[in-house]
Amino acid sequence: MRITTGMMSNRYVRNLNKSANQMDYMHQRVYTGRKFFKGSEDPVSAIKAYKLRREYRTTEIYDTNIRDVESFLTEAETNLMQISDNLEKVYTSHIKGITGTVGNEEREIIAKELENLQSSILASLNAKFEDRYVFGGTSNELPFTLEGNELYFKGYNVNTGKDKMGNIADFDKLVSETINVDLGLGMTFDGENLNKDTIFDMSMSGLKYMGYGETDGIANNLYTLIGKIKDELRSSDFSIEKINPYIEKFEQQKKQVLVNVTDIGAKTNYLNFLKNRNESSQFNLNEKLVDVEMADPKKAITDFIMQEYYYNAALSMGNKILQNSFIDFMK
């Protein structure tokens, strides 16, 4: 093939430009540590990266949610534990010792003690964590209120289930209110309804823990029971036969509170497991992301240095290629 000087310089400039471009690209790689800078450079990796980034952001959300729920549960556990402790303390030091022969004065002391217990229970039941009532179920308003001596939950009497207007609430519905949180269990809906096993229920119904309604004419609610015992103690025709059914019920319900405390403990353990699992999947995702998006520094630097070498070689070649022609040797 006939080669002319113009062709040589033309091709040389073209190649030099390519080489410089390549070097700039390699430099960018070393500088940013990234494998590619635009989706079009590596569309397949881009698809992966988009997906991994989304998943990673989701695990971040789950992490926040798990931590929130965990603190919420700890708060509930503390409060319920406090209630349980108080119940136990008052029971062992006072109620247990009630016999038919307890004197008036002593009965008054126990009654006073029970009054204190009532108000401390009420305070615990209305405990707030951040801007949510721990035992309020789905309510954002103060859940437990007093009307005279009667305790109301969300405006409904805990014993009769009636509100002030006389409407009757469905206790079963009230205690099964849920506050579901998506903790990365693969939340799905079945039509309108959430699939229960795909979400985490963080609601703590104070009504359920304290008991509601009446069985055989005796209130199930601990607060009410304590009130009843107190009333009996103060009553002029105090007798052990009259007070005993309330005390028996009290013992029963007290145990139930303890069961509930351990129940929360189990949930906290489960959360711990979820947290660890989420953290490890976060770690895995991060590793994959680095794999897809980030360049291996050793390779990036080696590539850059090689390219620099090629570029320099090309530069020094230029001098030789474009040096002399026949004209320079003519006499």
Binding site: T4, I47, N140
Partner: protein, 534 residues
């Protein structure tokens, strides 16, 4: 037969003259070593001998040639290489425009680039909205404010993307209208001017090689804009002389861009966002008398690239037109509109609030509480989506937190918020709604994709990524081929200094030899005339 006494002088003179020409050609070649489009020239020479036809007076004995003669100057040029070069040039031109324009689009939609690990863009904004919904305290106007801001930013981002895409569309349109088309008309006009000059020169016997070079450069340029073919039409100018004239057509069609001394003016027309390229005819006063749409016949070159990019609607195409079925800017604009519309529709439906319940606890009557609406009314698109005025003005909480009937206060329930969150991970069907008859309502649907909002967006972005990559590859391939053809062309036509240097030496030697011949003849005559018989 006797040898005429002075016959040798003619041989010597012709040799001196022709070698002088040779050196002139070397000079011309060397002078133009760097001239763009210059084609190496050569002197066509042949040896001369006299002859006679009449046998009676015919020569007898030894016949010796009578020197050398220059018949003309010609060029080293292969028209087949020109043809191939121009074909590749038009392909490269089309891909170049597509690549550049799609790259601009990619700068908007591509969310791969990151600054210091900070992810931004529409995909990240969707994730942010999900995050805010997760941490939303039901019925709390303060924490709902955070959600609202995030939703507002999402809407603004869609507006922004849509606006930037429209900017790119108008930009490319103006490149076509005020760049390519103006340039084509100018080039055509210049080719016509050259055609006239070349014809005049040819008639007077001048090959006008330099003008031909100039014209070839212009045709090369034109081939980058349009897929053209050049036909040489011979013209008999009488006296047995034929000169060549050229006609330039769009390849494989009868559309003449340049016909000898006339050229066709091209123009642009926009109709319902579809761009057409027209040939324009004017009367003597310069008023347009006729416009003919030739878009379909433009199969290559930059103009083809522009038409594809500007008219391309992909699945949203109303007709089976080649340009419309290409995935150009309007395809991506439409995709974004579909996303905005779907997203807003689902959000608005999920935020409905129950007014009353049936006996079985299901909702009887709903109250609409739209979260998003179109700025200025009508269908929600990426360009006009915004959070609803009602939501923006709400002082109390606006997001419906529950749709379950309950006793007592349920302002802390969040079942509906979960439903909203869930909609971000629910696979939806996306469809292209096409209004083929232009009556304002869609009458045809084409399926686009099934997936979540974010998946749909990255599907769109990666579609673009792939398209940019393929345009880039095609462009590189065609321009590489173009370079190699040009290389082959240069190999034939460009001036080489080594060669010219050698020729310079050779021809100056020949010139000296011819001069020497003259001197020797002179000495011979001197001997014959002055010394013989003395």
């Amino acid at each position: 037969m006797l040898r005429p006494t002075f016959i040798g002088y003619k041989t010597a003179t012709s040799a001196i003259k022709v070698n002088q020409y040779m050196l002139d050609i070397v000079g011309q070649n060397m002078a133009n070593v760097n001239t763009k489009g210059y084609t190496r020239q050569r002197l066509d020479i042949n040896s001369v001998a006299y002859s006679a036809r009449n046998m009676k007076l015919g020569t007898t004995g030894v016949v010796i040639g009578q020197g050398v003669d220059a018949k003309g100057v010609s060029q080293f040029r292969d028209s087949f290489l020109d043809l191939r070069y121009r074909m590749e040039s038009s392909k490269a031109g089309s891909e170049y425009v597509q690549f550049e324009a799609l790259k601009d689009l990619e700068n908007i939609l591509d969310e791969i680039p990151m600054d210091d690990e900070v992810m931004y863009g529409l995909d990240a904004q969707f994730s942010d909205l999900i995050r805010q919904l997760h941490s939303l305290s039901p019925s709390d106007p303060v924490s709902e404010g955070v959600v609202r801001t995030s939703a507002e930013m999402l809407a603004q981002m869609l507006n922004n993307y849509s606006k930037e895409m429209e900017t790119i569309r108008t930009q490319q349109l103006s490149y076509l209208e005020n760049g390519a088309i103006v340039d084509i008309n100018q080039i055509s006009e210049n080719i016509v001017k050259l055609n006239k000059q070349i014809r005049e020169s040819n008639i007077s016997g001048n090959p006008a090689l330099e003008l031909n070079d100039e014209r070839n450069v212009l045709i090369d340029e034109l081939s980058n804009y349009l897929d053209i073919e050049v036909d040489v039409e011979p013209l008999d100018i009488g006296g047995g002389n034929i000169i060549d004239e050229i006609v330039i057509r769009l390849r494989g069609t009868d559309v003449e861009i340049v016909n000898r001394n006339e050229y066709t003016e091209l123009g642009i027309e926009e109709n319902d966002n579809i761009i057409t390229v027209n040939t324009i005819k004017r009367d003597a006063d310069g008023n347009i008398t006729e416009e003919t749409d030739i878009s379909e016949k433009i199969t290559g070159g930059q103009v083809n690239g522009y038409l594809k990019f500007l008219n391309g609607r992909g699945e949203f195409a109303k007709s089976g037109d080649d340009f419309e079925s290409y995935k150009g800017v309007q395809y991506y604009q439409n995709m974004l509109d579909v996303l905005a519309n779907k997203f807003a529709g689902i959000m608005n439906e999920l935020n409905r609030e129950p007014v009353s319940f049936k006996a079985d606890g299901t909702v009887d009557v709903w109250k609409e509480k739209p979260l998003f609406e179109a700025r200025g009314g009508g269908e929600i698109t990426a360009g006009n989506i915004k959070i609803s005025d009602e939501w923006a003005k709400a002082t109390d909480s606006y997001i419906t937190n529950t749709i379950i009937q309950s006793d007592g206060d349920s302002s802390g329930a969040k079942d509906n918020i979960l439903r909203i969150i869930n909609s971000f991970q629910e696979a939806e069907d996306y469809e292209a709604n096409i209004d083929t008859d232009g009556d304002g309502t869609a009458d045809m649907q084409r399926p686009l994709f099934k997936g979540t909002f974010q998946e749909f967006f990255s599907y769109t972005a990666t579609k673009l990524n792939l398209q940019v990559k393929s345009a880039n590859t095609s462009y590189n391939t065609f321009s590489e081929t173009q370079f190699h053809i040009d290389y082959a062309r240069k190999s034939m036509s460009s001036v080489d200094l080594n060669e010219e240097g050698v020729n310079l030496l050779q021809y100056s030697k020949s010139y000296n030899a011819a001069a020497r011949l003259m001197t020797t003849l002179d000495e011979m005559l001197d001997t014959l005339i002055n010394r013989m018989g003395v």
